[in-house]
C-alpha cells in the first residue's frame, strides 16, 4: 500500500446512499477500514426513499458485485423499461421515455433528422415506437437485451423496493467487513486547519477516520459544517414539495407512469402487491405535511477530508429518478479520483469540477420538462442553447460529464414536443422516398417484437420475483 493511501472512512447515514458508498468503498479497497454510522433515516432523503433508478445502476451493481438475479428473488427490485408520460405537456398524448437506440444508422445523418422530416409531413409514428424498448414498453412486455438485433440496442433500469433494497445493501456491507454503528451525530470535532478530526456520537462514542462521508440526507450536519455554501436552483426547478405514499396493487407494468398537471406531477411505480406513489408540487399549494426540498447543489461537495453524497450534494425532485442516479455516479467518481490522505485541493477540485458539470446538466434535463409544461421558470442559458439548437435544426448540444445519454435527451426533447422545425442540410441530401422505405421496414421489424417477447408479469414470475 502506498503511503498516500486513505486507510479508513467513516460514513454518516444508514440509508441506501450511505450503504451504497460503504459497499463500494469496501469492495474496491480491501485494506480500507469502513465504519458506517447507522443514523435514523431522514424522511427528506429522497435518494434513500424513491423507487427509481436509471440504467446506470447496472454499472454500479457490477462494481460492488451485487447480482441482479438476487435482487429480483429478494423482491428488492424489478426491471423497468421506461417512463410513461401522460398529460405532459398538458393535453398531449402519452409517450414513453426509454433507454437505448431510437432508429438505425443512416450514414452521416442522425436518424432523428430523418424522422423529424417525415413527422412534419405527417409520415412518422411516435418517436418511442422507433426504439425496441419503446415498443416493448407500449406493449407491456419485457426481456433482457439479447446479443442480436433489434433486441441488442436497448437498455433498462430497475424499479426498487426501497426498504428491501436497503436490506440487501446492508447485508452486502456486512459481508464486506463494514462496521455498522447505530447512533446519531452529536457534534463534529474539527482540526485547526478546518479538516474533520472526529465525529462525536450522542452516546459519547468518538469515530475517527482519514475520510468522512456525509450521506445522511439534505440536512447533512457534517457537510453543512464543513462546506456550507449552497447554490439555489429554485428559479429553474419550480417544485419544492414531495409527498411519498403507497397504494393498492395495479397491473404489472414495465413502465412507471408520470402524470403531469397544472399544479405539479405524480408518479406511480407498480410493484408486486402494491403501487408506490408520489406527488410533486410547489409549497404555495401545500396543504399536507409533505417533504420540503430546496433544489440546488452544494458548491463544493468535497472539501478536505469531507465528501458529501446524495441529497446533501445535489437536491432535486424525483423527475427521471435523478436522486439515486447521481448518488451512485458520484460514488464511482469518488473512487476513481480518491485523493491521497492529505486531500490536496488539486485532487478534490477535479472531483468537484466533474460533479458540478454532471449536476448542472441533470438540472437542465429536469428543467426542460418544466419549460415544456409551461411552468414559470427561469431557463438556464445552457438549457436555452440545447432547446434552441434542437428546435431550429435538430442539432444536439453535448456537454462534458453528462450522465444523461444523448438517447435520453432526444427522447425527452421529442416526447416533450420539441420537434426540429427544419431539416438539417446534411439530412436534406437523403431522398425522402428512400428514407420512408427504410423507416417502414424498421417499424415492421419492431412491430413483430411483442409477439416474440414474454409479458412483463410472466417475466417477473420466471425471474422468481415474489408476489409480495
Amino acid at each position: 500500500m502506498s503511503d498516500r493511501a486513505v486507510r479508513s472512512v467513516a460514513i454518516l447515514g444508514g440509508g441506501i446512499v450511505g450503504l451504497s458508498a460503504a459497499a463500494a468503498f469496501a469492495r474496491a479497497l480491501p485494506h480500507l477500514v469502513v465504519t458506517l454510522i447507522d443514523t435514523p433515516p431522514d424522511p427528506a432523503a429522497l435518494a434513500d426513499r424513491l423507487p427509481g433508478s436509471t440504467s446506470a445502476i447496472h454499472r454500479f451493481h457490477a462494481s460492488i458485485e451485487l447480482e441482479e438475479a438476487a435482487l429480483f428473488r429478494a423482491g428488492a427490485a424489478v426491471p423497468r423499461l421506461g417512463l410513461r408520460f401522460r398529460n405532459w405537456p398538458a393535453g398531449s398524448e402519452s409517450w414513453f421515455h426509454v433507454h437505448g437506440d431510437h432508429g438505425g444508422l443512416a450514414g452521416n445523418v442522425a436518424f432523428h433528422q430523418l424522422w423529424a422530416r417525415a413527422r412534419r409531413e405527417g409520415q412518422a409514428e411516435a418517436w418511442h415506437l422507433h426504439a425496441a424498448a419503446g415498443v416493448l414498453a407500449a406493449a407491456g412486455r419485457f426481456v433482457h437485451p439479447q446479443p442480436s438485433p433489434p433486441l441488442d440496442a436497448f437498455d433498462y433500469a430497475l424499479r426498487l423496493d426501497p426498504p428491501r433494497y436497503r436490506e440487501t445493501l446492508a447485508a452486502l456491507a456486512d459481508r464486506l467487513r463494514v462496521t455498522r454503528l447505530p447512533g446519531t451525530l452529536a457534534a463534529v470535532s474539527r482540526r485547526e486547519d478546518g479538516g474533520v478530526a472526529a465525529l462525536l456520537l450522542a452516546d459519547g462514542r468518538r469515530v475517527e477516520a482519514d475520510l468522512y462521508i456525509d450521506a445522511s440526507g439534505p440536512a447533512a450536519p457534517l457537510a453543512a459544517a464543513v462546506s456550507p455554501a449552497f447554490e439555489d436552483w429554485s428559479a429553474a426547478l419550480p417544485y419544492d414539495r414531495v409527498e411519498i405514499g403507497e397504494g393498492p396493487p395495479s397491473a404489472a407494468d414495465p413502465s412507471d407512469t408520470i402524470l403531469g398537471g397544472a399544479l405539479g406531477w405524480q408518479y406511480a411505480a407498480p410493484l408486486p402487491g402494491r403501487t408506490l406513489l408520489g406527488r410533486i408540487f410547489a409549497s404555495a399549494h401545500d396543504d399536507t405535511s409533505a417533504i420540503a426540498i430546496r433544489p440546488g447543489r452544494r458548491r463544493a461537495p468535497w472539501v478536505g477530508n469531507m465528501l458529501t453524497l446524495g441529497d446533501s450534494a445535489v437536491a432535486l425532485d424525483p423527475l427521471h429518478w435523478a436522486n439515486l442516479h447521481l448518488a451512485q455516479t458520484s460514488i464511482a467518481r469518488a473512487l476513481e479520483l480518491l485523493p491521497g490522505r492529505d486531500f490536496h485541493p488539486i485532487e478534490t477540485a477535479e472531483y468537484n469540477r466533474r460533479a458540478r458539470l454532471e449536476a448542472e446538466r441533470m438540472r437542465d434535463f429536469q428543467a426542460l420538462h418544466y419549460l415544456r409544461a409551461s411552468a414559470d421558470i427561469t431557463v438556464p442559458d445552457s438549457l436555452a442553447r440545447v432547446v434552441d439548437q434542437f428546435a431550429r435544426r435538430g442539432r444536439f448540444v453535448w456537454q462534458d460529464e453528462d450522465s444523461v445519454t444523448e438517447d435520453q435527451w432526444l427522447s425527452a426533447l421529442i416526447g416533450l414536443g420539441v420537434v426540429p422545425q427544419a431539416t438539417d442540410p446534411l439530412a436534406a441530401a437523403m431522398a425522402p422516398a428512400t428514407v420512408a422505405a427504410g423507416m417502414a421496414e424498421m417499424r415492421k421489424a419492431l412491430a413483430q417484437l411483442p409477439a416474440r417477447v414474454p409479458g412483463y408479469a410472466d417475466y417477473l414470475a420466471r425471474s422468481g420475483v415474489p408476489e409480495r
Binding site: M1, S2, R4, A5, V6, A28, L29, P30, H31, S63, N108, R117, L335, E336, L337, L338, P339, G340, H344, I346, E347, A349, E350, R353, R354, R385, D388, Q389, R392, R393, R395, V397, W398, D400, E401, D402, A422, T423, D424, P425, L426, A428, A429
Partner: protein, 496 residues
C-alpha cells in the same frame, strides 16, 4: 424546406480551401453551390505533411478511396510522433495513436503500471502500446476489427505530400460541382447595413457575389482579418517559435519509419516526416534566438539525405482570431489561427472547422446562436491544443541554450498548471468527452518528459506485486509476438 441554395464562395485554393469545397459540395448538395476563387500566382503553404487519425474519417465521409488517396499523395502510414531530446538531451518517447495497455478491473492501465514502476519494475510504458511496438519494428497493419484483441487498440494517420493533396481534392471537388474561378482578389465589398461581405472584386474586373464566404486565404486572412478586422489573440508569449525552415531530402535506403519525428534543437525543434518518395524536414525556431541563415545551415546539417530543394522559410505567429465566424465569413485553417506543427494539428483544425460548419450550416438566414456555437467549438479545440503544446516546452530540464532556458521557465496558463499538478500528484488526467488529446496523449508526453506521478489509483494497492508483474510481462510478450507477425511498412504500402 426547399430554401434557395446558398452561394458559398471559398477563398483560397490550398489544402484548407479544397478540403472545405470538397466537403460542402459532397455533403450539402441541396443546401449550397460552391465556387472557389484562387490565384495561381499565390503559392500555398501546404501545411501538415503529418496528420492525425481523424483525417481518415474525413476521407471516408467524403467517400474517397483510401488506397487511391494514398497513392496520389505518396502517403505513408503514421503510428505516432516520436519526440527526441525534449525532456532532456538523450530522451526519446513516442506519442502513439493508441492506448497503453488495457484497463484491469475497471482501473486504467496507467495506475497498475505506476505501482510496478515505483518498485523499479514494469519497464517502459511504451512497451504496453501496440502502436509503439509496431512503430519501433517499422511494421504496419490496420487495426483489427475485434475490440477484444490487442491489435485493435491503436489508430493510425497519414504522412503525405500536402502539395498533392489539394490538387487531388480539386478533381474530386470539381466532379462534385465546385466551380473554380482564377483570379487575384483586389478588394472586398461589404454591405453598408449589415457589414456582411457582399462580393469579391477580382483583378480581371469580375465581381464574385456570395451568401457565405469561407476564408481559406492562409496567414493573410484576407476576409476575416483584413476586411472584417477581427481581433487577434496572441499566444507568442506561450509559444515563441515564429519561423520554420523547410527542406525536403531523399529517402534513406531501407524500411520507412511509420512515424513522424520531432527532435529538440537549440532554438526550437525539427520535424522529420518520411513519405514514399522523400523525407520532409523543417526547423521550427524562434527568430529572436536564431537567424534564418543559421536555421538554414542547421537544418541542412541535420537532414539524412541529399536536399531536394533550397530551404524555404515560413513566417507565422501562435494565436488565433477571437472569432473564426464573424458576419457571413467563416475562416478555416491558417486564416483563423496558427499553432506550430509540433503535434500535427493543422489539418485537424481545418477539418474540425469544416465539420462544425456543416453541422451549423445556415438554414435561412445566419443565426447568431449558430455563429456562437461554432466559435465556442473552435475555442474549445484551440485552447486544449495550446495547453498540450506548451507542455512540451514546459516539462523540460534542458538548460543548454538560451531558448530552452527561456521557454521552460515561461509562465503557463492556469489550466495547464492544474492538469500537470493533478497528474503529478495522482496520475489523473482531466477528463473530457470530445476533441483532441485524451488521456493516452497526456500520459505519453508527461511520462515521456519525466513527469512521473507520485500517487496512483488506490484500487491497485491490494494487488500482489508478483502476480501483477507476471500479468504485465504476459501483456508485453503478447504485444511483441502479435506485432512480429505483421508485415513491414513498405510491404503494407505495396512498395517493393
Amino acid at each position: 424546406m426547399n430554401q434557395p441554395r446558398k452561394r458559398v464562395i471559398v477563398v483560397g485554393g490550398g489544402t484548407a480551401g479544397w478540403m472545405a469545397a470538397s466537403a460542402l459540395a459532397r455533403l450539402l448538395p441541396h443546401a449550397c453551390t460552391v465556387e472557389l476563387v484562387e490565384s495561381a500566382e499565390i503559392g500555398i503553404v501546404g501545411v501538415g505533411e503529418a496528420t492525425l487519425p481523424h483525417l481518415r474519417a474525413f476521407i471516408e465521409t467524403l467517400g474517397l478511396d483510401e488506397a487511391e488517396f494514398m497513392a496520389a499523395t505518396h502517403a505513408t502510414y503514421k503510428l505516432g510522433i516520436e519526440f527526441r531530446d525534449f525532456g532532456k538531451p538523450g530522451d526519446a518517447y513516442l506519442h502513439p495513436f493508441g492506448d497503453f495497455g488495457r484497463p484491469l478491473n475497471g482501473v486504467p492501465f496507467l495506475h497498475w503500471w505506476l505501482r510496478m514502476h515505483a518498485l523499479g519494475q514494469g519497464g517502459d510504458i511504451g512497451e504496453y502500446s501496440v502502436a509503439n511496438v509496431m512503430a519501433a519494428a517499422r511494421r504496419f497493419a490496420p487495426p483489427a476489427a475485434d475490440p477484444a484483441t490487442l491489435l485493435s487498440a491503436f489508430s493510425y494517420a497519414y504522412q503525405f505530400d500536402a502539395t498533392r493533396f489539394g490538387p487531388y481534392l480539386r478533381s474530386f471537388a470539381e466532379a462534385n460541382g465546385v466551380t473554380r474561378t482564377e483570379g487575384r482578389i483586389v478588394s472586398v465589398e461589404r454591405d453598408g447595413q449589415s457589414g456582411d461581405v457582399a462580393a469579391l472584386l477580382l483583378e480581371s474586373g469580375a465581381r464574385v457575389e456570395g451568401d457565405l464566404f469561407i476564408d481559406c486565404s492562409g496567414f493573410r486572412s484576407l476576409l476575416l482579418g483584413d476586411a472584417l478586422g477581427e481581433a487577434w489573440e496572441d499566444w507568442a508569449h506561450w509559444l515563441p517559435c515564429d519561423r520554420a525552415m523547410a527542406v525536403p531530402c531523399g529517402s534513406p535506403p531501407g524500411e520507412i519509419e511509420p512515424l513522424t519525428r520531432a527532435t529538440a534543437m537549440p532554438s526550437g525543434w525539427r520535424w522529420r516526416i518520411p513519405l514514399q518518395h522523400r523525407v520532409g524536414n523543417g526547423y521550427v525556431y524562434s527568430s529572436a534566438h536564431l537567424s534564418d541563415d543559421e536555421a538554414s545551415a542547421a537544418i541542412l546539417g541535420a537532414i539524412e539525405g541529399e536536399a531536394l530543394a533550397d530551404p524555404r522559410v515560413l513566417r507565422f505567429r501562435a494565436g488565433r482570431r477571437k472569432r473564426s465566424w464573424s458576419h457571413n465569413v467563416v475562416a478555416v485553417g491558417l486564416a483563423s489561427g496558427f499553432l506550430e506543427p509540433l503535434e500535427s494539428t493543422s489539418i485537424y483544425l481545418v477539418q474540425i472547422a469544416i465539420q462544425q460548419l456543416i453541422e451549423l450550416f445556415p438554414i435561412g438566414r445566419i443565426e447568431d446562436a449558430d455563429r456562437a456555437a461554432f466559435n465556442d467549438q473552435v475555442d474549445y479545440e484551440y485552447d486544449r491544443i495550446r495547453d498540450f503544446l506548451i507542455l512540451h516546452y514546459h516539462a523540460s530540464t534542458r538548460d543548454d541554450s538560451a531558448f530552452w532556458c527561456e521557454v521552460r521557465h515561461n509562465p503557463i496558463p492556469d489550466s495547464l498548471t492544474e492538469k500537470i499538478e493533478l497528474f503529478r500528484r495522482a496520475g489523473q488526467i482531466q477528463r473530457y468527452s470530445r476533441g483532441l488529446f485524451f488521456a493516452p496523449s497526456w500520459i505519453a508526453v508527461l511520462i515521456g518528459q519525466g513527469v512521473i506521478p507520485q500517487g496512483w489509483d488506490q484500487r491497485v494497492d491490494a494487488a500482489d506485486p508478483a502476480a501483477l508483474g507476471q500479468a504485465l510481462d504476459r501483456l508485453r510478450g503478447q504485444i511483441v509476438r502479435d506485432v512480429a507477425a505483421l508485415p513491414g511498412h513498405r510491404a503494407a504500402l505495396g512498395l517493393a
